[in-house]
Structure formats: structure tokens, C-alpha cells
């Protein structure tokens, strides 16, 4: 009896992977391919007559404003990637592998800077580092008694833009590298020491190569984020008088819209991204990087000794720039009349709070929509990413790699372009989705899928199949092994991916801006609307509300024991 039951259980388990595969292929194809199809269609369609044409692609090479926007966007993205990597890697090492004091707080603070929507960070830096009204410059002038034409920093520049974006993208690199360092077992490093390697040699020859995949993956995410980012460039680059490609594409939607040109202008972004992803693959492909097997020791800790103070200073200055200063600026602006006002009893006011909470009619609706969508998107994406990355990394079904490609593809679609693609796909008599939150849910799922998938698949490739093989040998089905063995091992990653996606959804702006209507307003959009009319006080109030709520969600997700809170705590 028992043996028959086992056999049957096993059979039904195996059978399940095909329907799952088919269902996922269908979902992902609809999510990803449909908008891409419309994009391709429109890129060959004349903006003026409606017939088939190559004019859009000719304009792409002939129009100097488009080429310039592309050049600047690429330079900006590389700058952001480089800066993020250079800052985040040493910091991650310090936090994961040294006796630096306050490591846990540092991790929490970095998470905080990840939760900060980049557009809010950009606005905070407008408040801090605008050449004349920026608080830093005001202080600088009053300390050195300089006249009003002098300034120390100017955020409305190309360098300023890179800096302001990197402040809020470096956590991608940090998190991935720190997690990888947590997992690198000490045996390899011990071996190096036993063979006479000094600590720097071990670091250089063993530890760094082991975390290289995480570094590259993190940097790549940072580059792609910057390349496809809309909010920060719209806030900082436009005042400086230049376009990056996303803002340029956005400007093509202004009346009269030039959809074909916009679609054509988006395609090179897709190609660049595919090239980058291939490059990453070929770098990583040559080496095996399994770091979490069935047998591993605890990570070893380097003692900093006399370098401790330098390390503390380094970490503190990074955290000041990415967390403390922007947050203080936002707080100050939320409670004083205008940005330039000094802080004293007469300038303190609750007028912005009164306006946002009681006078501004969009607030409540936007908050409700934002959190509902964040929750739905995070749950759906994590579930899909978990199953897809399992199918892909374990190659359980022939052709499963196709799923991985589909799940990564949206990373190449700038949110704003996806917004158009979705608008074209779902705003027609067949799918009456425009004007509902469902079109936003589809948009967010598509946008966040690559992030969720990247997280889950790197977690999967870190878990050696030997553990699952053991389960399979004992007679459990694939899904059962996944559920009983792999999922618990990946619990922290699943929670992290969920939080990633949740936070990513909440701060999404570029696709949202084309897809919201009066009844489906989101906080990010009203912040952007308010920024365009210069209401910084109200923005800061909304920003504080948004941040407080996001922190609460992330905090709860990480503390609930069922979700793996204990592991997180133990690691410190």
C-alpha cells in the first residue's frame, strides 16, 4: 500500500511541472511579449500618416537631440554603476566580514536608503544642494562669509545627477555583495591562510573572486536602474538643461504625441541591455560559484585593529550622504514654510501637513492604491519568480531557459516605454483595463519581475542541487522538494525578494505616470505632480508618510518568525 501511494505521489508531482511550465510561459508571454509587440509595431508606423515606414529609425540616427540624450544616459548609467560598486563593495565587506561596530544598524540604514524612492532622494538633494537655495550652500556661504554668487555644490549638473542616483542605487550592490560574503564559507579562506597567504592576499585571491558574481550582478542592476530611470533625471537633468533618453522619450508624448519615434527610440535601450546581460553571463559562465552547499563553515571575521576609525569614518560619511542628510532635509522642509527659511520657532509650521492631510483631496486614495498595489505585486512576483528560477536553474523541463529570458527581458524595457506598450495593449475595447488598478498591477508585475527573478535565481544558484537531489533520491516529487528543502533554505531570500519588489513598486514612477487616471492615483505620481508645480513642503510630507509606511512593511516582513525573521536576526 505505502509503496503504491508513494509512486502515485511521485507521478503526480512530476506531471505538475509541465502544466506549471505551460501556465508560466503563457503568463510571462502575455506580460512581456504583448507590450513589446506593440512597441515594435509602432516603431515601424508613421507618426503622421499611419502607414509602414522606416522614418522613425532614420530620425533616430539623424536627430542630434536623440543621440545626445542617448550618450548622456549611457555615460550617466556607467557613472552610477561605477560609483555604486566602488562605494558599496568595501562597505559590504566591512559590514559582513569585519569587527566594525554597529554592523547591524549599518545594514538597517542601507536598507533605509534602498527604501527611499530615488525621485524623493533627488528632491531631497534639490533641497540640500541647489546652488543658491541649497542648505549646504547656504551654510557654506555663511561660514566663509561669501557673497551670494558663490556655491560649494550644484546638484543641477551631470555629476550631481550621477551622485544623486548612486546614493539610492548603491544598496543593490551592497545587499548582493554583503549577502554573498555572508555565505562564502571559511574553508576556502582558511585553506589560503594555511598555505601562507596573508589576509590581503586571501581577500584578493579568494574572497573577492568568490563575491565577484554578486558585485557584477549588483553593478549591472545599478547601471540598468540608472539607464531606465525617469524620476531623478526629470527632477535634476531638466533644470540643468539636458535630456537623458527616458526624459526625451517622455517629451515625445507631449501633445502632439510622436509614438512611433518614441517606440523606435526605446529599442536601442533594449539592445544595450541585452548586450550587458550577455556580458555578465560570459564573465560568470566560466567559473562555478556555488557558495552554499550541504557542508559549510561560518564566515570568518577580520579584525580591523587600527583601521577601525578610518572604516567608521568611511561608513559614516556614506551613510550621512545617503540617509542622514536627505532625511534631515526632508524633515526640515516638511515643518518649515519654505526651503530657505532658517529653523526657529517662528518658521516652524504644520501648514504643509494640514494641506496634505486635510485639504489635498488626492492623498487618501493615493495612499490606499499605492499600498494595495505594492502588496499584490510583491506577492505575485515573488511566487512567479520562485517557480521560474527553480525551473530555470534546475533545468527540470526542456526549454525552461526560455522562461528565464522572458522573466529578465522587462529589465530592458524602460518603465515609460512599458507604460506606452501596456497602454496600447490594454486600453482598447477588448481589454478595458486602462483606468483600473489592474493595468497598474500588470505594469508593476512586468517591471518588478526581473528584480524578483534575479534575486531568486541568484539565491537558487547559491544552493547546491545536492540538497534537493537528496530529497529526490528519497522519493519526494519536485514540488515537494522545492517546498520542503529548497524553500526553507531560501526563506530569507524570498522575504528579501518580496521586500525588494514591494519597495520597488512603491517607488515606481515612470510607467505609472502614463497609466494612472484620477481614480487610480498613486503617491509617486502626486509627488511628481507636486514637484512640477514646486510644492516642496507638501512633497516632503507625503514622502515622510510613504517612507514610514514602507519601513513598517519591511520591518514587519523581516520580523515575522514564519518568514525567516530569526535567521536575519542571528546574522546581525
Amino acid at each position: 500500500m505505502t509503496s503504491i501511494a508513494q509512486v502515485q505521489g511521485r507521478r503526480s508531482g512530476i506531471d505538475l511541472s509541465w502544466p506549471t511550465f505551460a501556465l508560466l510561459s503563457l503568463i510571462l508571454s502575455v506580460l512581456v511579449l504583448l507590450p513589446l509587440f506593440w512597441l515594435a509595431f509602432y516603431s515601424f508606423r508613421s507618426d503622421t500618416g499611419g502607414g509602414a515606414t522606416l522614418d522613425n529609425f532614420i530620425a533616430l540616427v539623424a536627430d542630434p537631440t536623440l543621440l545626445r540624450a542617448y550618450g548622456l544616459a549611457i555615460a550617466m548609467a556607467l557613472g552610477v554603476g561605477l560609483l555604486s560598486c566602488v562605494v558599496a563593495t568595501p562597505m559590504a565587506w566591512l559590514v559582513a566580514r569585519t569587527d566594525l561596530p554597529g554592523r547591524r544598524i549599518i545594514r538597517m540604514l542601507v536598507t533605509a536608503s534602498f527604501v527611499t524612492p530615488p525621485f524623493l532622494g533627488a528632491i531631497a538633494y534639490e533641497i540640500l544642494a541647489a546652488p543658491n537655495s541649497g542648505l549646504v550652500n547656504i551654510i557654506y556661504r555663511s561660514v566663509f562669509r561669501l557673497d551670494s554668487s558663490q556655491y560649494l555644490v550644484n546638484i543641477y549638473t551631470f555629476g550631481g545627477l550621477i551622485f544623486a542616483i548612486a546614493c539610492f542605487t548603491f544598496p543593490y550592490v551592497f545587499t548582493l555583495v554583503a549577502n554573498a560574503l555572508d555565505k562564502v564559507p571559511s574553508d576556502l579562506e582558511d585553506a589560503s591562510s594555511i598555505l601562507g597567504g596573508k589576509s590581503m592576499t586571501t581577500l584578493r585571491k579568494v574572497t573577492i573572486p568568490l563575491v565577484l558574481p554578486a558585485m557584477l550582478a549588483g553593478t549591472l542592476i545599478a547601471i540598468l536602474q540608472a539607464l531606465t530611470m525617469f524620476g531623478s533625471p526629470a527632477i535634476l537633468a531638466l533644470p540643468a538643461g539636458f535630456h537623458v533618453i527616458t526624459t526625451k522619450i517622455w517629451s515625445l508624448f507631449q501633445f502632439p504625441p510622436r509614438l512611433g519615434l518614441a517606440a523606435a527610440a526605446a529599442l536601442p535601450l533594449l539592445i544595450i541591455t541585452i548586450i550587458l546581460l550577455r556580458a555578465q553571463k560570459s564573465i560568470l559562465g566560466r567559473k562555478g560559484y556555488t557558495v552554499l552547499g550541504g557542508k559549510s563553515g561560518t564566515p570568518r571575521v577580520t579584525e580591523l585593529g587600527r583601521w577601525k576609525w578610518a572604516a567608521i569614518l568611511f561608513v559614516f560619511s556614506i551613510l550621512s550622504l545617503t540617509i542622514l542628510l536627505p532625511y534631515l532635509a526632508i524633515l526640515k522642509t516638511a515643518f518649515t514654510g519654505t526651503v530657505g527659511d532658517p529653523i526657529n520657532l517662528s518658521t516652524l509650521t504644520l501648514s504643509h501637513w494640514r494641506f496634505v492631510l486635510f485639504e489635498f483631496s488626492a492623498t487618501q486614495l493615493a495612499l490606499r492604491n499605492t499600498f494595495l498595489l505594492g502588496f499584490l505585486t510583491a506577492t505575485a512576483v515573488t511566487a512567479i519568480a520562485l517557480i521560474v528560477s527553480y525551473l530555470v536553474t534546475r533545468r527540470s523541463v526542456p526549454g525552461s531557459r526560455f522562461l528565464g529570458v522572458l522573466a529578465t527581458a522587462p529589465v530592458a524595457i524602460p518603465g515609460i516605454v512599458l507604460g506606452v506598450g501596456l497602454f496600447l495593449s490594454y486600453a482598447n475595447p477588448t481589454f478595458q483595463l486602462y483606468g483600473t488598478i489592474w493595468i497598474l498591477l500588470i505594469a508593476f508585475m512586468t517591471i518588478e519581475l526581473p528584480a524578483g527573478y534575479q534575486q531568486m535565481s541568484s539565491a537558487f544558484s547559491g544552493v547546491h542541487p545536492e540538497l534537493e537531489e537528496a530529497g529526490r533520491i528519497m522519493g519526494a516529487s519536485r514540488l515537494r522538494t522545492l517546498w520542503d528543502i529548497t524553500a526553507p533554505l531560501l526563506r530569507t531570500s524570498v522575504v528579501a525578494a518580496w521586500c525588494f519588489v514591494f519597495v520597488g513598486t512603491i517607488r515606481e514612477l515612470s510607467a505609472t505616470i502614463l497609466l494612472t487616471t484620477a481614480n487610480t492615483k498613486l503617491v509617486s505620481v502626486i509627488i511628481y505632480d507636486l514637484n512640477e508645480s514646486g510644492d516642496l513642503g507638501a512633497i516632503c510630507v507625503l514622502g515622510i508618510i510613504l517612507l514610514a509606511a514602507s519601513f513598517a512593511v519591511v520591518f514587519v516582513a523581516n520580523r515575522v518568525p514564519v518568514l525567516g525573521g530569526s535567521q536575519m536576526n542571528a546574522r546581525g
Binding site: G241, P256, S361, L514, N519, D529, E532, G534
Partner: protein
């Protein structure tokens, strides 16, 4: 959908006007108890507007006190964004908005051609509004007007140093000092760019573009950048925002240049597919009432075409200012040229 908006914009301007035969404006209506009751039954009105959000919300509040039980949902964005949004919505069959208002007169010619508006004439408009400030067919009327003004921080710039004319802005001493809004976002700035390019030529903007001007989007924003002290001089921006900031005690002064100051007229209309038709009718009539127009003037600093509105002391009356008028029919075919020239000279 998009195709419609697009082709219409590029080709239909001439065709549609000539081919359509419009009916006479409907008879004026008054706010009757029946209308009020019907509006209350609907309970809500959705207002798409380009007026500064604080002013629009204030107006909504006053409406709600006057007609309790009817909620006003204010959706504020820049004129061109409001236009883009309503275009997206109407071309896909989504009818959220009841009453619409932007500061770009071209939009209303376009709505009218598309047949998106319900003609109706509140009694107040029929009685008091000048004939050229309302649509002869009763589709829309000028709800507000404002100038796009030069202004400066009087604590950062002495009065004798401040510019007196548009040409003065080209002086090297104003380099790095100016802030300006964008014609692709703001209907006001689209209008002002059009009239100034006709008056002074594009060479003027080419030279102005070399002055390292801070570029913002909405025409409500340059006055706020002045208030923050981020820049000392605004090239354009809503006069009404400047009035409001002056009322708050900010050291800002307006300049009405010798060559003239561009005027932007903000029309309002009721949409054909308004989901709350009676509330829309009531709200629309209310927008032109003396109460609302006086509030716009006092709290909002807007100019009104209502002859009984009393302007605050200290504000230069329109009659004393040389005004540059714009003709929406001439502006419409120029939009693409204005945008591409603007990008050439200002970078965005």
C-alpha cells in the same frame, strides 16, 4: 486612439473647422433648486484643472460649503498634462472628468472640434462676460486669465539693476540668475513663447538660451523658485503665484516690460460624457459666479473677466499694462516648431 489625437492635431485643424456647422449657443441657465437637488443626488463632481493646486482646492472647499453634500475631486496637473490625460481617457472610452480647465486656449478649440464638450451657458456668463472671452457656440468660456510675468527678488537684486525690457535679459549680468518654465508642459509658457517669438524673433530665444537658465516645468514653479531664493529672476511664470507669494510677505517684485506682457486665458468647459452631468452643470455655473471669481482674485491672484470683481489694492490693473494677446488658431500649427526650436536653444 493615439492615432486620432495625432492626426487630428496635424491635419484636422483646418478641415474640421470648415466642415462642421455648429449650432447656436444654447439658452443661458440659472442655478435652480431642481438642479441643486439633482446635483446632490449625484454627490460628486470631478474637476480636471491646471490652476495652482492650493487655489483649486480652496475653490473646491468653498463650493462644498455652499453646496454641502457634493464632493469635489480636484485633479491638478500642468495644462499640457491635463490635455494629454483627457486625450488618453477619451480616446479609450474612459469618462472620469466632469469639468475641465486649462490655461492653453488651443485645447478648447481642439475639444470643440472633437465634439467632447457639452455646450451650456451659465446666466452669469451670458450677462457679464465680454463676447470675445467665450465661445460663440457656448462650448466654453474664459474662467480665468493671468499674465506670464517677469519678476525678481527685491532683496537679491536692486530695483535699478532689474531688467526693464525683454531685451535686458540678454545682459551678461543676468547669467546664472534666471529660472524659466517649459512650453511643453505649461500652456501659459507655450502661449508666451509663441507671442514673444513673434514679437522678438527666435534669435532672441537663441541668445537667451546661452544665459544658463534653470529650466523648470510648470509656470507655477518659477515664482516658487524665487521664493526659495534659488534664483533671483524669473523669465516667465504665473502672475497669480507671484501675487500669492507677495501676499505671504516674500520680497518679490513684478516687472511689466515695455514691449508687453503675454496673457494666458484659462477656459473651462463641461465634458460631453461627464459622469455627473448635473453636478457638473452646477459646478460650472458656480465657477463663473461672483463668489468664485472673487475668491480666485483674492486668494488666487487670478485675473477675472467678471466686471464686478474687485481687485486687491496694490495690484496693477490690467488696463494699465500693455498686454500681448495670442490667437489660438495661429498658435496651433506652430506647436511642433515651438517645441523643437525650444529644445534647440534651451536643451530640453
Amino acid at each position: 486612439m493615439w492615432k486620432k489625437a495625432l492626426s487630428a492635431a496635424l491635419f484636422a485643424s483646418g478641415l474640421a473647422v470648415s466642415s462642421a456647422a455648429f449650432a447656436e449657443a444654447p439658452a443661458p441657465y440659472q442655478i435652480t433648486p431642481e438642479l441643486e437637488a439633482a446635483a446632490k443626488a449625484e454627490g460628486k463632481v470631478v474637476f480636471y484643472t491646471a490652476t495652482d493646486v492650493a487655489v483649486a482646492e480652496k475653490l473646491a472647499e468653498q463650493f462644498k460649503t455652499k453646496y454641502p453634500g457634493i464632493d469635489v475631486q480636484v485633479e491638478r496637473a500642468g495644462s499640457e498634462r491635463v490635455f494629454q490625460r483627457i486625450g488618453q481617457e477619451y480616446s479609450t472610452g474612459i469618462y472620469n472628468a466632469d469639468v475641465i480647465e486649462t490655461s492653453d486656449a488651443v485645447h478648447f478649440e481642439y475639444f470643440k472640434r472633437q465634439g467632447w464638450l457639452t455646450p451650456m451657458v451659465p446666466q452669469e456668463v451670458a450677462d457679464k462676460w465680454p463676447a470675445d472671452e467665450r465661445d460663440p457656440d457656448g462650448n466654453f468660456a474664459a474662467y480665468r486669465a493671468h499674465l506670464s510675468v517677469l519678476a525678481y527678488r527685491s532683496d537679491l537684486m536692486k530695483e535699478e539693476e532689474a531688467p526693464k525690457t525683454w531685451e535686458d535679459l540678454l545682459d551678461p549680468r543676468f547669467k546664472d540668475k534666471m529660472v524659466k518654465a517649459h512650453p511643453g508642459y505649461s500652456g501659459t509658457v507655450m502661449t508666451s513663447t509663441f507671442v514673444l517669438s513673434q514679437l522678438l524673433g527666435w534669435e532672441y530665444f537663441e541668445k537667451l538660451g546661452k544665459q544658463n537658465i534653470m529650466q523648470v516645468q510648470s509656470s507655477t514653479e518659477p515664482p516658487k523658485k524665487l521664493a526659495q531664493g534659488e534664483r533671483a529672476l524669473e523669465v516667465d511664470g504665473n502672475e497669480y503665484n507671484v501675487f500669492r507669494l507677495i501676499d505671504e510677505g516674500k520680497p518679490i517684485k513684478i516687472i511689466y516690460p515695455d514691449e508687453g506682457t503675454p496673457l494666458a486665458v484659462g477656459n473651462a468647459a463641461v465634458l460631453k460624457q461627464a459622469p455627473h452631468p448635473n453636478a457638473a452643470k452646477l459646478f460650472y455655473a458656480y465657477l463663473f459666479s461672483l463668489d468664485a471669481q472673487q475668491l480666485n482674485s483674492d486668494f488666487g491672484g487670478l485675473r477675472s473677466f467678471h466686471p464686478d470683481v474687485k481687485e486687491k489694492e496694490g495690484r496693477t490693473p490690467l488696463s494699465k499694462i500693455k498686454i500681448l494677446h495670442s490667437d489660438p488658431a495661429k498658435l496651433e500649427p506652430e506647436i511642433q516648431t515651438i517645441k523643437s526650436n525650444y529644445e534647440k536653444y534651451f536643451g530640453t
